[in-house]
Symmetry: C2
Subunit: 407 residues, 2 copies
Amino acid sequence: MVYEIEGGVNAAVGFSSMGVHAGIKKAKRDMAMIFSRVPCVAAGTFTTNVVKAAPVIYDRDTIYENDYAQAIVINSGVANACTGEEGMKYCKDMAAATAKALDIKPTDVLVASTGVIGQQLPMDKIQTGIDMLSFTLDSSEEGAHLAAEAIMTTDTMPKEIAYEFRVAGKQCRIGGMCKGSGMIHPNMCTMLSFITTDVSITKELLYEALSENIKDTYNMVSVDGDTSTNDTVLLLANGMAENKTIDEKNDDYYAFVEALNAVNTYLCKCIAGDGEGATALLEVKVNNTATKDDAITLAKSVCTSSLVKTAICGHDANWGRIMCALGYAGVDFDPNLIDISFHSKAGRIEIVHNGISTGYSEEKATEILSEDAVTLIIDMKCGDASAVAWGCDLTHDYISINADYRS
Amino acid sequence: MVYEIEGGVNAAVGFSSMGVHAGIKKAKRDMAMIFSRVPCVAAGTFTTNVVKAAPVIYDRDTIYENDYAQAIVINSGVANACTGEEGMKYCKDMAAATAKALDIKPTDVLVASTGVIGQQLPMDKIQTGIDMLSFTLDSSEEGAHLAAEAIMTTDTMPKEIAYEFRVAGKQCRIGGMCKGSGMIHPNMCTMLSFITTDVSITKELLYEALSENIKDTYNMVSVDGDTSTNDTVLLLANGMAENKTIDEKNDDYYAFVEALNAVNTYLCKCIAGDGEGATALLEVKVNNTATKDDAITLAKSVCTSSLVKTAICGHDANWGRIMCALGYAGVDFDPNLIDISFHSKAGRIEIVHNGISTGYSEEKATEILSEDAVTLIIDMKCGDASAVAWGCDLTHDYISINADYRS
């Protein structure tokens, strides 16, 4: 069991954070820092895009080569992607400056960037930001909240959460913050997520828990089908909950995985629901497929279909588009077995039964689809695997946000 | 060499056609017929969607089981998709009624439908339409043009073309018409294409020519990434040009393939440029990849990216989005080798050289991207294969067209 608590990335014992305005963006907070009093084991997962931003390469190598991490420094406004050797050097400089300010090892600092592709980081402003952040780090809810705010780009709201869970009688905490709202803003990019926990766990199991869980969480989110060059999830565990270190896949491990899943699921729904221009969170549940991969493929196909997304925007129970998107997903199935239901706060209605219309009430269906979070439940009736994907509707505002000039 | 001529699907000797208003749609022409004085060898390619409309299954089986075809009857307004056994029976009834009206064999009639998914065909109106069409078939340009008009749904213009070509000293003709503008209109579907030629060719080579050519033409078009339940290309060859029958892959065969490619390429550009809500045809050329499959995958990834499509809508030289879409396509490459140029009637400009910005003029780039047809040329520098994909920009009108209710 997990219980929601306050505090975001500061909820776990020993973590402090902050967000400031360093001048990279005109008026908004644009740099954040997360710091742990003691070194943490760290795990990271990164974009599969062949075009990887410099901080993605830097963090991947740093986590691989070092046993611990103790701080993360993040900027928004400039993505440090497509920036060549110079971009790689700035990652190292950013980590070195942070290490100096915090009096820790440079190799214990991770970096992350989000913003415009193709521009170099303004290193003077970055240095100013690091100085400000290191002096003002704060372990309260407020510090975590300002950090969550500082990593936003086209996001309309900060995204943070924390949970409490028990491992062998010890209270532990896990908190996270993320940003992401499209591949993003004209020429901008990235989903970034930062998770902190005070659980004690080995680096190997921390990585395994994260890399398994992202398959059901971050990898199931799509705002616009564009996989960014900067996508990063970083997870720090500092062990200050003083539980017996989790070093095997026992009940303790699964208690941690449950809490990690709760954080990631919450943050993913935030990202999808706050997709660029979105008015509704779209949740697609595909049940009873032959394999888990089939369920994932089908759920993603429906969730990313432009025609399904515009139908949700129009509150239109357009099931032909759902059948169509299932059909071209690349999974074989019998269309004559499919049931489709719509679900939201306004109720639940079955639209399709055994592949044809149930003769449902269009009025009731529209009412259900007019909420700010709607779920499509698709029963394939050919097995017992299932998957959930998250997306959002496709609206005029998405076009306005992304067709504007980059000025 | 091929030469453009007038006459659309009536350009080839022996073909006549017509389009009428049978009352399926409120006020627009909604039924078309194509007829050849003599039986034709026929080839077809159909949607890969698992959810196949009834006429797709009917035509696939009819072409497979019979040596010849002599007429095609088409309706717009109702797609006859997700209609079960009843829908299959109506295909047979539609073919039988057409055969009776034209005094030919029922098995020599092919059928096609486009429109709303999930509704049954109004067979009384279909019968009326068949009677009207069979009495008014016309071998002039006008007949072909009215047929091209009658198969439109959300298309803003009819799409037809014809070419003349020589096979071993004989003049031959090939013409085509198609429709398609999205997976289409609220709950509508389909790309339909009909091609007629008077060349004499074996059924086997006709099929091979078509199935090879669609890989470079129809399969490279994407308006919104949604593969319809009804996609159909039908090709009839009646032999009335009296050339020596093409029965091997000699120069004659390749002369025919060149003409077929010219028809299909023209029609594909029409479909892409007339995509729902589109203001511009987007052509993406990917050159110098290791394999043809790599080139296809990369070209499609760029051409279907929502962020690239909205950038074209905004006349914005947003090359970071192009790099990003190349990067997540699933093909491995070195980002530091890539060159990207933009080309249109307004000129040509290199934007990216060896993976970084050329420091181009944003003003000039915007001017080039403001034309109604723009080409992105991407040089991967890792081989000698290439591919071209066609799409369009993503605009407010696409959202308006597809987010409206189905009324």
